[in-house]
């Protein structure tokens, strides 16, 4: 473990930096994509539908003659907004619940952790189907739904860590000295579980991207004409025979992004949290 940390400081860790740089690029595109887009992503050109790549449209066009490159560059935004929004929601909600449950024990603990068990015992996509299939979906609905689905994951991590720390003697001592609950949790517990949370957050971002794109693929996510990668793949599937590259590009972008997040998550886990495998 020591050696690993030293190595990390001395020479660039490719396993960490390659996915990190990739994700950085994805972020930049999410921020500045619309400025880079050569066309208005919603601009219809009925005389140039389902074209293969050309000088005018490097990645070709979709069934409305819209520029695929432009739609890819803008379609990342809803996906990222939902993934990071829901992860933030899940982290804040889950950590708060987990900390309090672990700290208070007794009935609150039972209530919170049993509810988590129930939520965890259900395939995420079915939960999402139930909610999103019924209400008009948009970025807000998706973010809240996916966020709620991943609350239990964070709650479990926070809860497990909290009971570990709470029973440690120094906390007992501080408690005896009259430290407030809030101060105790924020000062002594939270820093201890930060690394586990970072790892969990990485996993959740990847899972949320997959879930959002899966729902959009089923036509239950971001509504057209606004583009999102999952939705583009879902629609392009109908044109596989006419223009296979229409499916290929958004698929590639999505797969590479998730791969980068997973690689980063694996590496972060190795570095920050070597006990858990």
């Amino acid at each position: 473990m020591m050696r690993r940390h030293v190595a990390f400081l001395h020479r660039p860790d490719l396993g960490l930096w390659i996915p990190a740089v990739l994700l950085g690029v994805v972020f930049l595109v999410a921020l500045f994509g619309p400025m880079l887009a050569p066309y208005n992503p919603d601009e219809i050109n009925h005389l140039a539908v389902l074209q293969a790549g050309s000088l005018a449209h490097p990645l070709g066009t979709d069934e409305f003659g819209r520029d695929l490159l432009s739609r890819l560059l803008t379609g990342i935004r809803p996906t990222m907004a939902v993934a990071f929004g829901s992860t933030a929601l899940a982290a804040v909600g889950g950590v708060t619940l987990g900390l309090l449950a672990g700290f208070w024990g007794n009935l609150p603990e039972i209530l919170v952790m049993r509810t988590c068990d129930i939520l965890l015992s259900f395939p995420p996509i079915l939960l999402a189907l139930l909610v999103v299939g019924f209400w008009p979906s948009g970025i807000a609905t998706l973010t809240i739904t996916i966020g709620l689905i991943y609350v239990p994951h964070f709650a479990r991590v926070a809860h497990a860590a909290t009971i570990g720390v709470v029973y440690q003697e120094f906390v007992e001592a501080e408690r005896a000295m009259g430290a407030g609950a809030g101060r105790l949790l924020l000062r002594d517990v939270l820093p201890n579980i930060l690394s586990s949370l970072v790892v969990q957050a990485t996993l959740t971002v990847a899972a949320a991207i997959l879930l959002e794109s899966g729902l959009s693929f089923l036509g239950l996510g971001i509504k057209p004409p606004t583009a999102s990668w999952g939705q583009m793949i879902g629609i392009a599937r109908g044109y596989l025979a006419q223009n296979p590259m229409y499916t290929f590009w958004p698929s590639l972008c999505l797969a590479v992004t998730v791969l980068a997040i997973n690689l980063l998550g694996d590496r972060l886990r190795d570095i920050l949290d070597p006990q858990t495998i």
């Binding site: 219809i44 009925h46 539908v49 008009p136 057209p224 109908g238 044109y239």
Partner: protein, 510 residues
Amino acid sequence: MRTSFKTILLAATFSLTALAPAWAAKTLYFGLSVEPSTLEASVQAGTAARTVRLAIHRGLLNYGVDGKLSSELAQSYSVSPDGKEYTFILRKASFHDGEPVTAEDVKATFAWLLGPNSRATYKGELGVIDSIEVVDPQTVRFHLKNVFVPFPHYLALAESAILPKAWLEKNGTNPNAAPVGAGPFQFVTWSRGREIVLKKFPGYYKAGKPGVDELHFQFTTDDDTRVNAIRTGDVDIIEYVPWKDLPALKKDKNIRIESTSGPFMMLQFNTHFEPFSKPEVRQAVSYAINRAVVIDTAFNGAGTPLYGLPFVKGAPGYNPALENYFSYNPAKAKELLAKAGYPNGFKARLLATAQYGYHMNTAIAVKSELAKVGIDADLDLPDWAGRMAKNNAGNYDFVVAGTAGDITDPDWLSNFYYGGKQLVRMNNSPYFDDPEINRLLDAGRVTLDETARAKIYDEFAKRALELSPFAYIMWRDQSYAVRSNVSGFTNLPGFLSFQSGYSLENVTLK
């Protein structure tokens, strides 16, 4: 190493293909676009259900393959000079249970259809029947409350099929009873979620028909699956060929496409929504949409622009001078908008559905076209059930609709344009109620003289275009794909495309 693996895989796949047995010689597999929600004879529950019912049932009249009224269980009929009495002479025919078709059955069918527990779709139109008289076992007479010229057309609908009296007494209130009719095929089973199986009715009144022994209706809801199924020969006929797949299927040597240009796409305006309450604004929408954009994007080019009213050539009220009443003219649209008081456009909610690609894509194309004249259409895309709920409640500013007239008689317009008591209906523009239009439609229903009638509908057409409660976009090609070993299947012309199931009696297999 890699090559040998490839070879093995290839060999394995080919041997699997070779093992596939040929289908039983006289079984026809038909790929429906959806599992029918019900086979209840009097309920119009979509094209899929109609196709199945048209294989099982026959009415006194039906629409034939030429699109004209064809005498089925009725050998002939006559109308009294005052137009209020219709007398039908029945032919010798029998139901699937072996009992003959008699005047009593006809009377029982319509009594049931108009009875208190009936869910019949065309109960309103057939409500014109005052009484039914059984003259003798082979003769039946309808007495109408008032003159109703399109009456035979409503009798020819798939929903006016004749059912056995005995069956009705037993099963009249049970919508799930195994259907019995007098059509070319009799019901065998309905495996839920998978297929409906019918078999040849040997006692069918047309000698030598039907030409196949068994008919399997398989439910292939997904567009791509349905297309794959016809390509691989899993099914012999499919309905609702997706427009994007037409070019590829046309190239396939084993498949032919039967197309009809009959159903149309249009926009319905909620006339309580302020900008759309003004005819100029509705006209502006018609001028603003380049029909080619919708056709090329949402229908892969398979459609015909509609710049007037959806009147088929030769129909009463068809006027070549009005055929291109509108044109693609965004400047004119802007001018009309300015005149109506919206020089900078406005925002409106456009309802469509995400469940059917052609509805959604039409909405997307319309949105993009309207944006060019300053109208900002906010898309509302629930699934079909959600869209229907909003449609029937008038909960929209304008809506994308794809439909066809029910009958070939111009009275189909009543359902679309008539005001009256119920001002929010599925196929009208909510709250549109013009006394002049109502008057003309009423007159059209009761005018027996054909020249006079044509004149009424001509007048109607002018008024309808002036007020434009609908913006018509295009005729869409409605296609069936048929494998080349199948002959005799006809896509009925125009509006009647949805009743093509009638021609299944002519189908033979090579």
